[in-house]
Subunit: 447 residues, 2 copies
């Protein structure tokens, strides 16, 4: 199977891509770039950058959203740090069938290696490699879903290492055998335990996955050997990290190039676990219609998909990172503030007494009959009145995807504070125009 | 449990160490240094070094056994490459109860970080940190044994990352909480699938584990957070990577500082999977006594512990790396050449027609009643004569440990071809005198 995947990767050409897939990949990259700029100043990113600066090698690759004097570093560290930044606000993309955040590991590795190459990298070659990485990453995620995630693997990084290796192999033009070795070298670095959710290490995962995959492809290019059955062997990646039958892997690999996972990628309107989004969406609409203060609310009852409580059941978040795993915080900011952007996940906001008080009045119950993008909200007021809201499909879900205009507003919301209005608009134009660009290495001039 | 381990690490002092433990740690380091020099010129090491040289940061840390002009590189890459070199001949140490090769990941990370510090590092501080790392590494191995290994994890690197993080935390003087975060950051990087055995990637594992642990401790020192329950949580390291009960973890953590795993470390007389050693030992003794040519042998029957065939059943090895997983090759070189050093695992030797012919005449059967360090060998000759050999405990096992003199002969056998006689002897003296040394950063002058 490793070899079959490698063969598919090598044979993939731009002409075989449906236009909808290229467009979805472009939106994925655009969203990733904005999130990476938006996460550049977060402590998880800056601690990593500060700690590792003593090791930086020759500067070739851009750290997105950084000051000009610290902006170009070696490719391995750029992959790590951009990967961290892209995920740190939990604001990146989601492949809903697997809860993989696919672009982070793949784009961070791919971009950093492109900038080391001594030749122009056309935008469509870049997108092709990005698509190859995302497709393999998500197909592998589907092959090991759900037991891989259930047991405790952070599927974004465990599959992301392999996706990153594939994308880098593609842009380097590796042979099928080299690509298979790269897949093996990436597969053996199984990074990411779900126990880390709520700490800096959660965003370390996609960063390290980018680095793992980059390292894997570079070693394979130079003849480093791994196994050519790394995924399917008895003690290979699928069997070791999941309880799924190998037949699933066969089905997913056979579907490469027939169904496209990149098309199913979705983008988050809110910077937190995607399972909370229906609740936030509903609470924001209730805010707009009815509420300006929490005083009058006696209780809030949320009825949600079971995964919501499993993943985001933190009742008493102590800081912004923990609040991302609190459906209670999501509901509270939606109801009270009417929005949920990174600003509503600042530590000080999370500890605001009004929000703390409102969170205390919110209860949530799981209902397995609900879809993950669905929820019910019931408010009870001091005067005994009740208000109900049913969210059928949350904004940002596949049924209500964010429009390009919404994506652009999100991009600018993250980039303007870092880059200023002019540079942010220029960066937005540059990213939207990626596919037609002659050489994407000019990215360091704009982002 | 992560916190309990961290507390133990922080409280550990040289005065609380039994002398036998310090001596065992010294022998472990000595053996590691020789193996690392011996592996420096192997393709798995040189490919990694050549590939990654484009990323090398400021030079601080020694690559053991390298030419003076390429010898000092940044600490992260030194940890990786020394870790690869130390394991590439499968000639390093073994904690027999877990089959962990404990010193590689821990020493490679620890040595490389010591050389970055702007203060003298006394030899006994170095040994103390090494012991802390090896103890935690092996106790964790015992906690997840055997299911962790059985399912397919290369236990050397999966526990080695954590051991390396502990050793680096100790030498950096991290607090208990920082050490616990380092353990979490290391635990989330679960590197090493057994499927990679027989390829370059097997030795990549301890190298990457060293790097993982080093990175973990450095990030934790700067305030990067992980989980303080990384090992014991529902979706933490033990539950995700094994089927063992958490009670095992408790037992092992409670035994820290009471029983010492470092004392149980053993050293290999032969550069291959340790389970083959009884067969090689027996075959060498048969060679000495009876054989000078394979011509007269009609058949060889090996009766071995079941793990021998599971791990080293490669009947037709194609190169030196595969031969390390061939009990047939081990038996053949023992019988025909009377020795098994790295020279007998060169690719050309593995393909020698006389050895190929003899391997064809060797059969092996598993007998679960045998101990792992035991075997029976039966030779049948053309004239119908039979010769039997029972190996009760292989040389290098805990019952027949290598003496210091044997370790030194092994060290010099590996170092003389690389360093020359004078430097190799000086390096040997330097390593034996480690504990009393004022500053181990002088290592770059000798190794």
């Amino acid at each position: 199977m490793s070899t079959a995947i490698a063969n598919w990767v090598v044979s993939l050409t731009s002409t075989s891509l449906p236009a909808t897939v290229s467009q979805a990949a472009l939106r994925s990259f655009y969203n990733w770039a904005g999130c990476t700029v938006g996460g550049a100043a977060h402590p998880a990113t800056t601690i990593a950058s500060r700690t590792l600066s003593r090791f930086f090698g020759p500067p070739t690759s851009t750290l997105l959203g950084c000051r000009l004097d610290t902006k170009v570093i070696d490719a391995q560290h750029a992959a790590l740090i951009n990967g961290i930044a892209s995920h740190v606000h939990d604001y990146d993309d989601t492949h809903l069938d697997t809860i993989i955040h696919p672009t982070g590991p793949v784009a961070a590795a791919l971009l950093s290696v492109c900038e080391t190459l001594h030749r122009p990298i056309p935008g469509n070659d870049f997108l092709l490699a990005l698509i190859a990485g995302i497709e393999v990453e998500c197909k592998l995620g589907l092959a090991v879903w759900p037991s891989h995630y259930d047991v405790g693997w952070h599927i974004t990084s465990t599959t992301g290492s392999i996706g990153a290796a594939v994308a880098v192999s593609k842009i380097l033009g590796l042979t099928s055998e080299q690509t298979a070795h790269a897949i093996g070298l990436a597969a053996t670095q199984v990074t990411g335990l779900r126990e880390m959710f709520g700490s800096h290490t959660k965003s370390f995962h996609p960063g390290r996955a980018a680095q793992n995959g980059l390292l894997a492809a570079l070693l394979a290019e130079e003849g480093y050997t791994s196994s050519l059955q790394a995924l399917e062997a008895k003690r290979g990646w699928v069997n070791v990290s999941s309880e799924e039958a190998l037949a699933n892997l066969h089905i997913q690999v056979d579907s490469l190039g027939k169904t496209w996972e990149t098309e199913k990628n979705s983008f988050k309107p809110f910077p937190c676990g995607i399972v909370i989004h229906p609740v936030i969406d509903g609470c924001i609409s209730l805010h707009r219609k009815h509420l300006t203060s929490s005083e009058e609310i006696v209780s809030v009852m949320l009825t949600v998909h079971p995964l919501v409580l499993e993943l985001t059941g933190k009742k008493y978040p102590r800081d912004g990172l923990e609040a991302k795993f609190s459906v209670y915080h999501g509901a509270a900011v939606g109801l009270l503030l009417g929005k949920a952007t990174p600003a509503q996940y600042e530590d000080a906001v999370v500890l605001d007494p009004h929000l703390v008080q409102l969170r205390d009045r919110i209860a949530a119950v799981a209902d397995p009959s609900l879809r993950p993008d669905e929820c019910h909200i019931t408010l009870t007021f001091e005067n005994g009145a009740r208000l109900e809201k049913h969210v059928d499909h949350a904004v940002g879900s596949v049924h209500r995807p964010m429009t390009d205009a919404q994506l652009q507003a999100k991009f600018l919301d993250q980039c303007v504070p870092v880059l200023g209005v002019d540079r942010a608009n220029r960066a937005s134009d540059w990213c939207w125009g990626l596919e037609a660009r002659d050489d994407i290495r000019s990215i360091h001039e704009v982002l």
